[in-house]
């Protein structure tokens, strides 16, 4: 019985693919734990498409985006390098014209994209999945595929352009002002801004205040998160609260706990995670500390801007300041795009696929609605209009078995051609000058300084010093274990982790660069973040007392 590849045309084939490129890297941030087949199909196809589209639209001089392969639920990537000097020059000339609109009207372009993509989501949501015909459901799914494709085009065009500006700003700060991206002064310049993710967190905080004033606080504090909704619905007050809360979820709840997967409920389907955050805000009490923090950040930022501008020769300040404004938008974009692009699109994928899944179950093609995530679009098309004619369960069965296998053995972090080592591979990444590879994947390598006698060395993502109890969190499900004043230790963080930043006193992450989530959010909350320690989650145990000094990039385990 033939079962198709998960991502036809883009399955990893060691023999051929290592001949094409000697180094393939696992995308550990997004594809650990391994993806469901459907999500993998979407990501490999369209993230790949978006990166090549963005690199081509901007005509990046040295790199044509990334190539991606699917291997056992993992995404493997390599760079598509421009081969000849002559082509580099041609691309460079075009690049100078192509990047201009982003320099001149960054906000106009980004806001236009946000409007476009939100319009597409509204269009998709208009279909009532329960009453739609099979033809309409299939059409909705096809439109979702197109939306995902378009989302990645916007995503990568913006990301390449934004990060290019950011890297130039870092270089210019080094050249003209003598500060680099691990310097606290630099961090002060790029923080102190509001963004959509913070606004959503603030809404959650406002609901926590309302719960208190409506006398509903005990419902939250006395129950576990999954029971809160049920208990609220037993009182008039609670029902009104839930009605407004659902409305808020319908606006901003199109996201899932894991950013790059679709097999967990969205907040719209199940507001438990969101209600859990309201509960945490109630327990914590006080004001929304991000507001106060932002005011402080904002005045720190203005002082830092002045300090840096004063170091720049007067006749260079014009363009330098314009560049600084662009770089400051990088942090905002880095956070906001997760909300408007990845999270929302993935929620739309889940919604549309579940609509079909339900119909497939009714027609007997599947046993469970969620089994649809073990199918890929070609298989869905097979049964889309006439699900009663097909049995897809054999595909699901085999794929699920594969998927369960993938969970047992971690994918290797890199697959390298014989005679090619990881250092050489990293060298290729750096030499590509690919802005995304540099800013998100590679980061600055930690400097080991034995005289500091630290247990771990990393780089500064957000300045400051803190001491507290370590809380090692390996996935989002464990976030509720985080307590006030803890120091969060993780492999990396994503936007759904943002709310805990209001409670913790510091962060240690295994990987990351200055535009990684942990660094950006850490700076907004004014807490120290040490990144790129590589072995934080393996060396530090939950409950240990640790001290982080982000200014020096060190972590000390105090009770070994």
């Amino acid at each position: 019985m033939k079962v198709y590849d998960v991502v036809p045309g883009l399955e990893f084939d060691p023999e051929r693919d290592l001949a094409q490129s000697p180094a393939w890297f696992l995308d550990g941030t997004h594809s650990v734990p391994p993806w469901t087949p459907m999500f993998g199909w979407f990501w490999i196809n369209f993230c790949r498409h978006g990166m090549q589209y963005g690199a081509e639209k901007l005509s990046l001089p040295t790199v044509k985006g990334w190539d991606w392969r699917f291997h056992n639920g993992g995404g493997y990537l390599t760079l598509l390098l421009v081969k000849s000097e002559e082509e580099k020059q041609r691309r460079e000339e075009k690049f100078k014209r192509a990047i201009l609109p982003l320099i001149q009207d960054y906000d106009g372009i980004w806001n236009g994209f946000v409007k476009e993509i939100l319009g597409r989501y509204e269009e998709l949501k208009r279909l009532d999945l329960d009453t739609a015909t099979n033809v309409e459901l299939l059409d909705n799914f096809e439109q979702t595929i197109n939306t995902c494709r378009r989302m990645w085009e916007i995503h990568m065009y913006m990301m390449y352009g934004t990060y290019t500006a950011y890297i130039l700003f870092e270089n210019m700060c080094r050249e003209l002002a003598g500060i680099d991206d691990t310097s606290p002064l630099f961090h002060n310049i790029v923080s102190g801004f509001d963004n959509k993710v913070f606004q959503v967190d603030k809404r959650l905080w406002e609901f926590s205040r309302r719960a208190v004033s409506d006398g509903l606080a005990p419902v939250f504090t006395d129950s576990e998160a999954p029971d809160i909704k049920g208990k609220l619905l037993t009182s008039d007050n609670g029902r009104v609260f839930m009605k407004d809360f659902n409305e808020f979820m319908n606006e901003d709840g199109w996201r899932m706990q894991r950013m790059s997967e679709i097999n967990l409920p969205t907040w719209v389907e199940d507001p438990t995670p969101a209600l859990g955050m309201v509960k945490q805000f109630i327990l914590k009490g006080g004001s929304f500390n991000l507001d106060e923090e932002r005011q402080k950040r904002s005045s720190d930022r203005q002082a830092a801007e002045k300090e840096v501008l004063a170091k720049v020769p007067v006749e260079q300040r014009g363009w330098f300041e314009q560049l600084m404004r662009l770089a400051q938008k990088s942090g905002i974009f880095s956070e906001e795009h997760d909300h408007y692009l990845d999270l929302y699109t993935h929620a739309m994928m889940r919604r549309s696929a579940l609509g079909l899944g339900k119909r497939f179950v009714q027609a007997g093609a599947l046993d469970n609605q969620e089994d649809v995530f073990f199918l890929i679009p070609d298989e869905i098309r097979r049964a889309g209009i006439n699900p009663d004619q097909f049995d897809l369960r054999y595909i699901v069965e085999r794929r699920r078995n594969d998927w369960l296998e993938w969970q047992k053995t971690p994918n290797p972090p890199a697959v390298l051609a014989e005679g090619f080592d990881l250092d050489q591979a990293m060298g290729v990444l750096v030499k590509s000058n690919d802005p995304i590879a540099l800013k998100v994947v590679v980061g600055s390598m930690p400097q080991v300084r034995p005289e500091l006698k630290a247990d771990l060395y990393g780089s500064c993502g957000s300045p400051g010093v803190a001491e507290g109890i370590a809380r090692v969190i390996l996935n989002e499900d464990e976030l509720h274990l985080v307590k006030e004043k803890d120091i969060l230790v993780a492999a990396s963080t994503s936007p759904s982790w943002t709310p805990v930043f209001s409670m913790i006193s510091g962060v240690v992450v295994d990987r990351g660069a200055s535009l990684s989530h942990a660094a950006i959010v850490g700076r907004e909350y004014g807490i120290p973040v040490v990144m790129n320690v590589f072995e934080g989650t393996t060396k530090i145990k939950s409950g240990q007392r640790i001290k982080v000094d982000a200014n020096l990039g060190t972590v000390y385990i105090l009770d070994k």
């Binding site: 990046l60 001089p61 040295t62 790199v63 580099k88 460079e92 690049f95 100078k96 014209r97 990047i99 201009l100 320099i103 001149q104 290019t164 500006a165 890297i167 130039l168 270089n171 210019m172 203005q302 002045k306 501008l309 004063a310 007067v314 006749e315 300040r317 014009g318 363009w319 300041e321 314009q322 560049l323 662009l326 000058n433």
Partner: protein
């Protein structure tokens, strides 16, 4: 010829350029824009014409130059002719009728300011750009002295360069489209310039204010390092570099003199934040009115209370380096370079 040849500043505006000359028309326009201009009046080009006619100086000049065509072809000849003509003019008293009128305006100006024999500045105000018409007399006191300086300003229309200009442009020798501004001397605590653009970069998002203790001449001449404030137009934040101001220009018994700045205030900023803010506020308004970056001169009076102590004596379109081709294109170039590292 119209009877009226003296106007209060608020009676004229930029449309009266040909009547009272650029400086006066500009001062008139400034009063209309809400810029506090030192009180004073404008003597129109008709005043000059009338003086030349009634005093006989015009006729004398005509006769004198009628056979000097050859002499005027040489530089030495131009120097000689200019010297003679200025002597003709400066030797003539102001005709009685004109004197009465001028004195009545000066008396009224003194009365309005509540000062006797008030110190004024007497400045030339050319209606066309003509080199050499730059004569300015500061700290002029008393009506007879004012009359004398007005005549000297008229005479300044016959500097060597101005004569050369007339010959090159085939202009009649005794004609000079020159007005005169007579305005109260501000008892300057400090003074300086304010540009609503960074002249070196063409950055129009900034204002640069430079100032020194005393009169503004020391700042304009560039002989000392003044205080410099660079102000962001949008948020009002500013960066300042405070110069060590060792010298300043102040009034002498007559005219002006250079004086030492007391050591204890040499490194003190000459403007308070309030004064700086007010100067920038008004400069921005003026820039918006003319829709072009402005080059202005301001004086802060040491006797009057804030904000009545801020006076303006000049605004004109600023000269500045055009913005580097385009900052955006420059940035695009720089961005291309990061792919080569």
């Amino acid at each position: 010829m119209p009877e009226k040849w003296i106007y209060w500043f608020d009676e004229v505006s930029t449309t009266d350029n040909d009547l009272v000359g650029k400086k006066c028309a500009n001062l008139g326009e400034m009063t209309r824009l809400g810029m506090r201009v030192p009180p004073g009046f404008a003597i129109s080009v008709d005043g000059y014409e009338r003086f030349m006619a009634e005093s006989g100086a015009g006729e004398e000049i005509r006769r004198y130059v009628s056979d000097k065509a050859d002499l005027l072809q040489t530089v030495n000849g131009q120097i000689e002719v200019g010297r003679v003509i200025r002597k003709f003019i400066e030797s003539k008293p102001l005709p009685e009728m004109m004197k009465e009128e001028l004195f009545s305006y000066y008396d009224e100006l003194c009365r309005r300011s509540g000062l006797e024999d008030m110190a004024v500045a007497v400045r030339s105000s050319g209606a066309v750009s003509m080199p050499g018409q730059m004569e300015t007399y500061l700290n002029v006191k008393g009506k007879e002295e004012v009359a004398r300086k007005v005549i000297q300003v008229w005479g300044s229309a016959f500097t060597t360069r101005a004569i050369a200009f007339r010959i090159e442009n085939n202009m009649v020798m005794e004609k000079a489209p020159i007005g005169v501004a007579v305005l109260k001397m501000v008892n300057a605590k400090c003074a300086g310039v304010c540009l609503t653009v960074l002249p070196t970069t063409g950055d129009t998002s900034k204002i640069v204010v430079e100032g020194n203790w005393g009169l503004g001449e020391s700042v304009v001449s560039g002989e000392i390092t003044p205080d410099q404030f660079i102000v962001d137009k949008a948020c009002g934040d500013f960066q300042c570099s405070i110069g060590k101001k060792t010298k300043m220009v102040c009034y002498g018994p007559l005219g002006t003199r250079v004086a030492d700045v007391p050591t204890e205030v040499q490194t003190q900023p000459c403007l308070t934040p309030d004064e700086l803010e007010e100067i920038c506020r008004i400069a921005k308004n003026v820039e918006a009115h003319f829709n072009a970056p402005q080059d202005t001169e301001w004086v802060v009076d040491s006797d009057l209370p804030f904000p009545e102590n801020i006076f303006w004596v000049q605004t004109r379109p600023a000269k500045y380096a055009k913005k580097k081709a385009d900052d955006a294109e420059y940035l695009a170039d720089l961005m291309a370079r990061i792919f080569k590292m």
